[in-house]
């Protein structure tokens, strides 16, 4: 039968797990783009891709040390922000959404192309860049347990490093969005012509926003690459961006901590649903017989989709948000 204690501890682990970190970093970046500047970037996974691959390639192909690779990956995210921004930032919101998805897909296609095998490893992917990260692991016991939730030492190390990155990003955002700089971003989100009429160089601010959020996305990619220790191109597909949006909207766009809380809850919820379904459909005497355990992964995606729809319709301001201050225009 269904073992709720296992389900709960698993979900609890997801609350702080590697996925929560990954999507929190992606969503933090999206929050800068969308929550504060109103840029509908649907290619965030592309930023993560250049971050992760930038680091992997720099370390394995160019012989960078790990920290150099990390910086290089972040620089790649920043460069993508500039490159993508120059042609696209004059576009309408919906065009921008499509163009950014297209750009991220182009990146994925190029990465997985057999013609790029020498650089990116093609469909086989890239490994062997994370040795320095593994070696730096300060945790020496094989397993640690907190509040009944167990962590393997590699995972614990990744999680600690990841949450440190998240905390730094949150701190930076907290400082910057309450400054006059952040005020200009919000003004652009509300009405960019008004900002122009007040002498603000809207284009420059949008590029800065794209770069800042892009670097956070790149950090997400770097973190993912380090935590799973191998890069495969097809991981970096458009739905990942959509999940980051789920996390962002769930936690509340336009609030500093929104995306972080959103990512944590989103993955805890997903893991709970997933575990529940697996337990209900698996075993010798499944509770739900007509669903195959193999379909659970797919069902989870169906749930995510429905969840996103319901969230957008009934609580576009997020679970903690206040409808009046909501940044998404759902009127």
């Amino acid at each position: 039968m269904i073992d709720f204690s296992v389900l709960l501890t698993n979900s609890l682990a997801q609350l702080v797990g590697t996925s929560a970190v990954f999507y929190a970093l992606l969503a933090l970046g999206l929050n800068v783009h969308f929550g504060y500047t109103g840029l509908l970037n649907f290619g965030q996974i592309g930023f993560a891709l250049v971050g992760g691959y930038g680091m992997g390639i720099a370390v394995t192909r160019f012989g960078f040390p790990l920290w150099g690779g990390v910086l290089f990956g972040m620089a790649c995210g920043a460069a993508l922000g500039v490159l993508l921004g120059i042609p696209t930032l004059r576009l309408r919101a919906d065009y921008l959404a499509i163009v950014t998805i297209a750009a991220a897909e182009i990146l994925r296609l190029v990465t997985r192309s057999t013609s790029q095998t020498d650089l990116t490893g093609g469909t086989q992917g890239l490994t062997g860049y994370a040795d320095a990260f593994t070696a730096a692991n300060p945790f020496d016991r094989p397993e640690y347990s907190y509040l009944g939730v167990g962590f393997v030492r590699t995972e614990l190390w990744a999680i600690c490093a990841g949450w440190t990155a998240v905390a730094l990003c949150v701190l930076l955002l907290w400082l910057i969005v309450r400054s006059p700089w952040g005020r200009v971003l919000k003004a652009i989100r509300e009405d960019e012509d008004a900002a122009r009429a007040l002498g603000k160089n809207v284009f420059a601010y949008k590029i800065q926003s794209l770069v800042l959020g892009g670097v956070m996305g790149a950090l997400g990619g770097i973190f993912y690459a380090l935590s799973v220790q191998s890069l495969t191109p097809d991981f970096w597909s458009p739905p990942q961006t959509f999940f980051a949006y789920c996390a962002l909207i769930l936690g509340g766009a336009g609030r500093v901590l929104g995306p972080v809380i959103g990512a944590m809850l989103f993955w805890a919820f997903l893991s709970f649903a997933d575990g529940l379904l697996r337990q209900a459909t698996g075993g010798t005497d499944p509770l739900i017989g007509f669903i195959d355990t193999q379909d659970v992964g797919a069902i989870r995606f169906v749930l995510v989709g429905i969840f996103l729809v319901l969230l957008m319709v009934y609580r576009p301001q997020g679970i903690f948000g206040n409808r009046r201050e909501m940044t998404l225009d759902a009127r």
Partner: protein, 445 residues
């Protein structure tokens, strides 16, 4: 459509043009299953540990017929046989290898039906744990009688491009009209295409109805599905005054839900239609076309003309243009906007279904798979935006450009990058004309 699996070293790589040289059908689903789902699962929940890793494929002869009863075996790196099987009536085979690693897959030539010419009967692959693997063997005569001069190659690609562009246009008309009349940027339109094609497949394969009739039935069902979308979701959302950006996000959620629902019910494989699987090309002067390619082109052109007449001549068509032009004005001049929008959704659903079937026939070797519409979605957007969102004729022009660019790009790009061309064109054109090719600028102040 999708890049074939990697061949063994020294293999010239995937054939550039699959017009005549025939291969077994690619089953992209495997690679796709390897995409988001398990990769993501890997990040969230440890992958379910499996004893063995499945590897599969389908054998299809040069004329498109399935090769049944053929022996396929898997050898490990030491040359020891680890598994062996025979293909079923649909040419399908599945083997299991014990662990990740490099394996060689081989067809026993003895077991082939007499007269079958095997081009590549041995494939070496790296098999990884977290994904399904597909192995392709090639049959038939390679490049026989094909004129390979650049000019004729360009011409062939041009024809392919126009065909592909027309298919994109058929699927995208609905996308453009829906945007024009309601302002919705519908990211779930690709799923309407997939579901349409899956409906046609179901009627064709499961119920045994000939594909033409099956398609007609599916078009009706697809129109109904479009109506369901409008009545069940979008109309209530408009009533609630949900903003356009929020609607866009809703459509993304709907798209994800529908896509994976198709995966659950249809499965992750590419499933062929019963009819029109043959790929024999006929020569028409300098170009060679298979019958289904020719039919695709003719049907598409006829449908496009029909749509043009509908928009220009009929009452409902004029009403559609009026609503697209100015919704409030149309409403105040007595047009029932809701009815027009409902009609647009039904038209869009029906056309997406037709487009899905044509897409499957002409580009996917007559197979249907769960992510086909989503793969097409970005190209649809590219075409529609090139033409200026919301303009019907612009959409046609834009889609043709995208189709041609995608095909012609294979002249300079590796085949697995061919979709990139269409997407790149989108970005480039928008840089110079942010309002699309035929669209007009919005006013300021």
């Amino acid at each position: 459509m999708r890049p074939p699996g990697r061949g063994r070293p020294g293999d010239p790589g995937p054939p550039r043009r699959p017009v005549r040289l025939l291969l077994t059908i690619l089953i992209p689903a495997a690679a796709l299953l390897g995409l988001a789902a398990p990769a993501l699962a890997g990040a969230v929940v440890p992958a379910v540990t499996q004893e063995t890793i499945p590897v599969d494929g389908t054998l299809r002869n040069a004329d498109g017929t399935f090769l049944s009863g053929v022996t396929v075996e898997a050898l490990d790196s030491g040359g020891r046989q680890v598994d062996q099987t025979r293909t079923d009536a649909q040419g399908r085979w599945e083997l299991a290898v014990p662990a990740a690693g490099t394996y060689t897959f081989r067809i026993d030539p003895e077991s082939l039906p007499p007269g079958t010419e095997l081009l590549q009967g041995e494939v070496t692959r790296d098999i990884a744990e977290d994904r399904l693997s597909v192995v392709i063997f090639r049959f038939g005569e390679e490049g026989e009688g094909l004129d390979t001069s650049t000019a004729s190659q360009v011409l062939r690609l041009l024809v392919d491009g126009i065909r592909f562009g027309l298919v994109i246009a058929i699927t995208a008309v609905g996308l453009s009209l829906i945007f024009g009349t309601t302002g919705l940027t519908n990211f779930s339109h690709g799923e309407i295409v997939t579901i349409g094609a899956v409906l046609a497949w179901t009627v064709n394969v499961t119920l045994g109805v000939q594909l033409i009739w099956a398609t007609l039935i599916a078009i009706v069902l697809g129109a109904g599905f479009g109506a369901l979308n409008e009545l069940g979701l979008w109309r209530p959302l408009r009533r609630r005054r949900v903003g356009l950006i929020a609607q866009l996000v809703v459509s993304i959620g709907l798209g994800i839900a529908l896509r994976y629902a198709v995966l659950i019910f249809f499965g992750g494989r590419s499933e062929p239609f019963v009819d029109y699987t043959s790929q024999i090309a006929r020569s028409y002067g300098p170009i060679a076309l298979t019958d289904k390619d020719l039919t695709t082109i003719i049907v598409s052109i006829a449908v496009m003309i029909g749509i043009a007449l509908l928009l220009q001549r009929t009452r409902i068509g004029k009403a559609m243009r009026a609503v697209a032009d100015n919704r409030d004005l149309a409403a105040s001049s007595g047009i029932d906007v809701d009815r027009v929008v409902l009609f647009v959704w039904m038209l869009g659903g029906g056309l997406a279904t037709l487009g899905g079937v044509l897409f499957a026939l002409s580009e996917l070797s007559s197979t249907v798979y769960w992510e086909m519409g989503f793969r097409l979605l970005l190209l649809m957007f590219a075409g529609v935006i090139l033409g200026g969102l919301g303009t019907a004729y612009g959409a046609l022009l834009g889609c043709l450009i995208v189709g041609v660019v995608v095909q012609l790009s294979t002249l300079v790009l590796p085949v697995d990058l061919k979709y990139m061309g269409g997407l790149a064109v989108l970005i480039v054109i928008l840089v110079f004309r942010p309002q699309g090719l035929l669209g007009s600028r919005a006013r300021i102040g």
